[in-house]
């Protein structure tokens, strides 16, 4: 199964070429990028049980790092006294670093709370960054940054080639799938999952729960930042829209759609989400429903509600015939046992 998936991912450009749909490779790149972002969210949401409704914030911070460098690079000016780098070997790690720092700071504040507070406060802080980016007149304000200098470079690779860029997105995704696999099986990952299942018990065992949660939150933020940096390069455009709260909602939907707390769930979810977004309008048009073509969300909204109400395990969970872990119910049941 995993081998098949890998083979498909690697040969995808040639398959698409062969069926004459080569242009779809940019969609495939977007799927890889969002899959990476959704996987990072799954680490804290699915495994750690932290319902972060502001994950797009770190995604956006990563994108803005690339965008701001690109703007200064194009103008030939410096940022904070240094010449802006134009190699992905530098810009993307910086995206990760700065998004990680942002996640560490905001995460430390958010993790003072839990439950519904945590949802609201992560959302509110993401909105704070959204308004911060909107107010940055220097960097386009509402309109964002168009990267006039084009994509960042990377060694001998031709990043303007959509096929080569696809592999540039696939690489980090595969790497993170591997890291995620190792991470959730490590001691750290076990503690993280125990946090979701019964935090008080873990704390009683003498484990510094917040320390683990904050580490996971920071890792997730950094990886989301990497995805943001890639998306900025992919679109050659950055805007406050990347930080918009609906983006956080989209990422969350991808995680749930694929299957909460399942390693490859977010990948499947991101693919399903973006394919639906791309082809649902086309589908409605071919069905002779032009009104729904433009307003496909009116179907997507109720669809989402139904998935939440009736198919908790998501696509992958349902296929695998196993259901995603239920958070509070599980906790309540645990607490009820004397």
């Amino acid at each position: 199964m995993a081998v098949l998936f890998l083979l498909l991912a690697i040969t995808l450009p040639w398959i698409l070429e062969a069926v004459g749909e080569g242009f779809l490779i940019t969609l495939a790149s977007r799927i890889c990028i969002y899959a990476l972002a959704a996987m990072s969210l799954n680490l804290i949401l699915g495994y750690g049980g932290m319902i972060s409704f502001g994950h797009a914030a770190y995604f956006g911070v990563g994108a803005y790092v690339v965008g701001i460098f690109a703007q200064h690079g194009f103008e030939g000016s410096t940022v904070l006294g240094i010449t802006p780098p134009n190699s992905m070997a530098l810009t993307l790690p910086l995206s990760m670093l700065i998004a990680g720092i942002a996640a560490a700071i905001l995460g430390a504040l958010c993790l003072r709370t839990s439950g519904a507070y945590f949802i609201m406060i992560t959302l509110a802080f993401a909105q704070m960054l959204f308004f911060l980016f909107v107010s940055l007149e220097r960097y386009g304000g509402d309109d964002g940054i168009i990267m006039l200098g084009g994509r960042n470079t990377l060694g001998p690779l031709d990043t303007t080639s959509d096929t080569q860029f696809y592999f540039l997105c696939l690489g980090p995704l595969l790497a993170f799938i591997f890291i995620n696999h190792r991470l959730v099986r490590s001691r750290f990952g076990q503690v993280l999952q125990a946090c979701r299942q019964n935090e008080p018990r873990l704390a009683a065992l003498g484990c510094n729960v917040n320390h683990y949660k904050l580490t996971a939150f920071t890792i997730a933020g950094a990886v989301a930042g990497l995805a943001g940096g890639l998306l900025a390069n992919h679109a050659e455009y950055v805007s406050p829209d990347y930080v918009h709260w609906t983006k956080s909602g989209d990422l969350m939907i991808m995680v749930i759609l694929g299957g909460l707390g399942i390693a490859l769930g977010p990948v499947v979810g991101a693919a399903a989400f973006l394919l639906l977004e791309e082809f649902l309008p086309v589908f409605f048009e071919s069905m002779g429903l032009p009104l729904l073509k433009e307003h496909w969300r009116i179907v997507f909204g109720p669809l989402l509600i139904c998935i939440v109400l009736f198919a908790r395990g998501g696509l992958l969970g349902t296929v695998q015939g196993r259901f995603a872990p239920k958070m509070p119910q599980e906790m309540k049941a645990d607490e009820a046992t004397p």
Partner: protein, 307 residues
């Protein structure tokens, strides 16, 4: 000085809108334990109903009535069709399902009224300004909003403190199961309470309609501000919602009005404007962060709160 007073009144007025939205949100959360993202959509429904009805009939009162009725019906239908199934689910399910509700509500509104914002005039009999103290002229309509806000807050406190319904609300927020065991129709109570929260949001929408452009997505901006209010005030506390709303309204308005000037004392004007714009749009979130550091459960935490 006159500018300062004017800005304080503006801040209080934003506080009134936020209170009306946050009060419903916090009551619903406190009693039913459900987090409702689609609460902002009720604000939007109220604004649209008021704007459209007033445009057709020419009567502000009919518009207001339509807003309250439309919001109440939307709220109760929402409760019966979707929310009812979510009470025993975890917060994640509630967030996702109500996110789906927002997508549906926004798209349905776009289909019905298009993407062009609607505009509504301030009702004729409230159109005008008065001199509240010598030298300070303020629009009557905005003063009326302040008065309505104060009245609603007072009425809500009286209802909760003095009436049988309020007693049930208080009892429900402390121990929902016990109230059910004592023979109360909890399902009906929840539907009505949801309707009440919806009416508040609809009222805010109708009053805001003449002041802002009525457009799709207007509810979500208010909703996120209302979240900040609820986090500051403490989930489930109406008093917290009132204090939080006024605090957020004042900090946001005064920050936008005076922060750039204040910074100009320390920096050159270009830097001050840039930093001021950024800081003032972030001011309420910084306030929220500060309060959280000092009091993680908000200013007025609910007794026996479940996290």
């Amino acid at each position: 000085m006159t500018l300062f007073l004017e800005q304080i009144l503006n801040g209080l007025q934003l506080g009134v809108f936020l209170f009306l939205i946050a009060a419903g949100l916090t009551l619903i959360f406190g009693i039913m334990g459900v987090i409702n993202l689609a609460h902002g959509s009720l604000f939007m429904v109220g604004a649209y109903a008021a704007a459209v009805t007033t445009a057709y009939t020419g009567s502000f009162w009919l518009g207001l009535l339509a807003a309250l009725v439309a919001a109440a019906i939307t709220g109760m239908v929402m409760e019966i069709v979707v929310m009812r199934r979510l009470y025993h689910r975890d917060h994640l399910d509630q967030v996702l399902a109500t996110f789906g509700l927002i997508l549906f509500a926004n798209e349905a509104t776009t289909m019905a009224f298009g993407r062009t914002p609607l505009f509504m005039d301030v009702p004729g009999f409230l159109n005008g300004s008065v001199e509240i103290i010598p030298g300070v002229i303020y629009p009557v309509y905005r003063l009326v909003i302040l008065a309505v806000g104060a009245l609603v807050a007072l009425a809500l406190f009286l209802i909760i403190a003095k009436t049988r319904a309020g007693m049930l609300i208080r009892a429900g927020s402390t121990n929902r199961d016990m109230v059910a065991v004592l023979g109360l129709d909890i399902a009906l109570m929840f539907t009505l309470l949801f309707g009440l929260g919806a009416v508040f949001a609809g009222l805010a929408g109708a009053m805001a309609a003449p002041l802002v452009s009525v457009e799709v997505g207007m509810g979500e901006q208010q909703l996120i501000l209302a979240f900040v209010v609820v986090v500051i005030g403490g989930i489930g506390s109406v008093k917290g919602a009132l204090v939080g709303a006024l605090l957020v309204g004042l900090v946001d308005t005064l920050g936008r009005a005076f922060l750039p000037d204040l910074l100009r004392l320390f920096f050159d004007s270009a830097t001050a404007d840039g930093v001021g714009a950024g800081l003032s749009s972030m001011s309420i979130y910084i306030l929220m962060a500060l309060i959280l550091v000092l009091r993680p459960a908000g200013l007025f935490p609910m007794a026996g709160q479940r996290h």
